[in-house]
């Protein structure tokens, strides 16, 4: 990898967002952008500054065009807006049978994180793999 990977984290539970960013920075040496603000999210993604995005399915603080937007819709939007291939990890605490397939299909996300996510090393490895799988720009 030529540069330090930059990961966008959109997660409405502050402590969970804090865990992601600490885990990725400490165990992977990644740079993290944590935000729930739609303008900021789009600014980072459209500038092509983001190598991967972790999106939570339920977002209480994020709005788009005056309406609440969830992680599934946001994943589709970011895939469209990103100037280069953007791998997306969809995170959720929905863990009943069928949730994974349903949410992956609806969002177009590349992989799925089932909460609780707590192993920093495994998370870093998963993200590295997803980034390396992308065609180089």
């Amino acid at each position: 990898m030529s540069h330090t990977p930059r990961v966008l984290i959109v997660e409405d539970h502050a402590l969970v967002a804090k865990f992601y960013s600490m885990a990725l920075e400490r165990a992977g040496g990644f740079t993290c952008v944590v935000t729930e603000d739609m303008h900021e999210i789009l600014r980072h993604v459209e500038a092509g500054e983001v190598d991967l995005a972790i999106l939570d399915v339920s977002l209480s603080g994020t709005e788009w065009e005056g309406r609440p937007i969830d992680g599934v819709q946001l994943a589709r939007l970011l895939k469209q807006r990103s100037p280069r291939p953007l791998p997306i990890l969809l995170a959720t605490a929905h863990a009943m049978a069928g949730d994974r397939e349903r949410l992956l299909a609806a969002s177009g996300a590349d992989d799925y994180l089932e909460k609780p996510v707590y192993d920093a090393q495994l998370l870093v490895e998963k993200i590295r793999r997803l980034i390396e799988m992308q065609p180089r720009a």
Partner: protein
């Protein structure tokens, strides 16, 4: 019943000459009736269904013998009108309700038939006259048996319909309950995973040595502690609701000074309110509030739930607490009003259901177990009060209120013109 009688008339096309013949037969058969009933009921113990049904002993058998004699008299009276059909129907229906099987009635009718043939043989040794009578009598007995069988079918059908309706209803209830359980499980699992994520995540970061300093470790441990507290709150809510739904929630009702509960509960939300720069006001005007009958722990739980909801769903403005005598006599009313996002009138009932948050979106966007108001509703009901939601002041925000019954001492003193409110002892 009406349609049944209409149908029965079909069976009542009994020839008039036959009827007249039987009427002349009546007086001559009278002397045989006691023996008819003896024979008839001597058969009962041998029939398994009948044995199960006729459990009334000798007295019941004696009554039944009387009834049978009356019925046989009726056979010879020639009055085979609607009342007769109705009577046969009632008897048939009662038999079905008792669980007496139709085949028993048919075999019993066989006993009557053969006994009456014997009687005719004794009364009319000349065969041509006997044949005349036996033909009419046989028609009458056929008609009677038909009526009984019809009523059996009708009653059985009615019973089956009622049973079907009951089963259908029970089935729907079960499907509904099963669906609710699935939903509850899915939601509960979801609610528990979020705090668990912080607890497991931060402890693993510390254990993996990924913290920069002991201070940072300490900071993360504080987050772990807060998340574990949150988790405990959710677990307690789930247990409370489980207890309530199983009918096992016990409240310890005693005379209680509400002022003390209000004063000790308010501070529990001031930290969160301060973080959001919300103003918290106590607009209770009365210096001393009347004593109520309530469970202190549960009253505090309800009030805390209303206050934290108000803080949680209010981005800016204030949360106001008020307490005063309710317009409904004999109750104290406590209300919490906020300037928050409000609840549309058509969704106010829904927030008392499990796992529902109303904020204009389909998904639940705010933390919490989603069980607070359903629990508050049940607790208030257990304490004999009521709970409700209305618009906040000026149609903005939300006002949630609940009532608690006043203590008897309060009620007595509230009639006291001096206006002093009650105190304990």
């Amino acid at each position: 019943m009406e349609s049944f009688i209409q149908e029965m008339k079909r069976y009542l096309n009994f020839d008039e000459s036959d009827a007249r013949l039987l009427m002349t037969l009546g007086p001559r058969m009278e002397k045989y009736l006691p023996e008819l009933s003896e024979r008839f009921y001597s058969q009962i113990p041998h029939h398994p269904t009948a044995f199960r049904v006729f459990t009334g002993g000798e007295a019941q058998i004696a009554r039944l013998k009387q009834t049978l004699q009356q019925w046989a008299r009726g056979l010879f009276s020639g009055l085979y009108g609607e009342a007769y059909a109705d009577d046969r129907y009632q008897i048939g229906y009662r038999h079905v309700r008792l669980g007496l099987e139709q085949k028993y009635v048919i075999s019993a009718m066989g006993i009557v038939r053969s006994f009456l043939s014997e009687c005719l043989l004794l009364e009319f040794p000349a065969s041509d006259e006997r044949l005349k009578y036996s033909s009419s009598l046989s028609k009458m007995l056929d008609l009677d048996l038909n009526l009984m069988c019809e009523s059996y079918m009708h009653a059985t059908l009615q019973n089956l319909r009622a049973l079907n309706a009951q089963l259908e209803y029970a089935n729907q209830e079960l499907a509904q309950a099963s669906h609710s359980k699935d939903e509850f499980l899915a939601q509960t699992s979801h609610e528990l995973r979020t705090p668990l994520n912080s607890i497991l995540g931060f402890t693993k970061l510390i254990l993996d040595g990924l913290c920069k300093s002991p201070e940072e470790e300490k900071e993360l441990l504080r987050d772990v502690y807060a998340s574990a507290q949150h988790l405990l709150g959710i677990v307690n809510d789930i247990l409370d609701l489980g207890r309530i739904e199983a009918g096992k929630m016990r409240v310890h009702i005693e005379d209680l000074r509400p002022r003390e509960v209000l004063d000790s509960t308010m501070p529990l939300v001031t930290v969160q309110a301060k973080e959001k720069r919300l103003e918290i006001r106590d607009e209770t005007i009365r210096m001393s509030l009347p004593v109520v009958r309530a469970d202190e722990v549960r009253m505090r739980q309800v009030l805390l739930n209303l206050l934290s909801n108000a803080v949680k769903f209010t981005p800016k403005g204030r949360v106001t607490l008020r307490a005063d005598l309710a317009s409904h006599p004999g109750f104290l009313r406590i209300e919490v009003e906020d300037t928050g996002i409000g609840i549309p009138p058509d969704q106010r009932e829904a927030v008392f259901l499990k796992f529902v948050q109303v904020d204009g979106t389909q998904t639940r966007r705010h933390g919490g177990s989603g069980l607070g108001l359903p629990i508050a509703l049940k607790l208030v009901e257990l304490m004999g009060g009521a709970i409700g939601i209305e618009d906040g002041a000026g149609g903005q925000g939300t006002r949630v209120w609940f009532t608690l019954p006043l203590a008897l001492t309060t009620l007595a003193e509230s009639r006291d013109p001096s206006g002093h409110t009650a105190s304990r002892q």
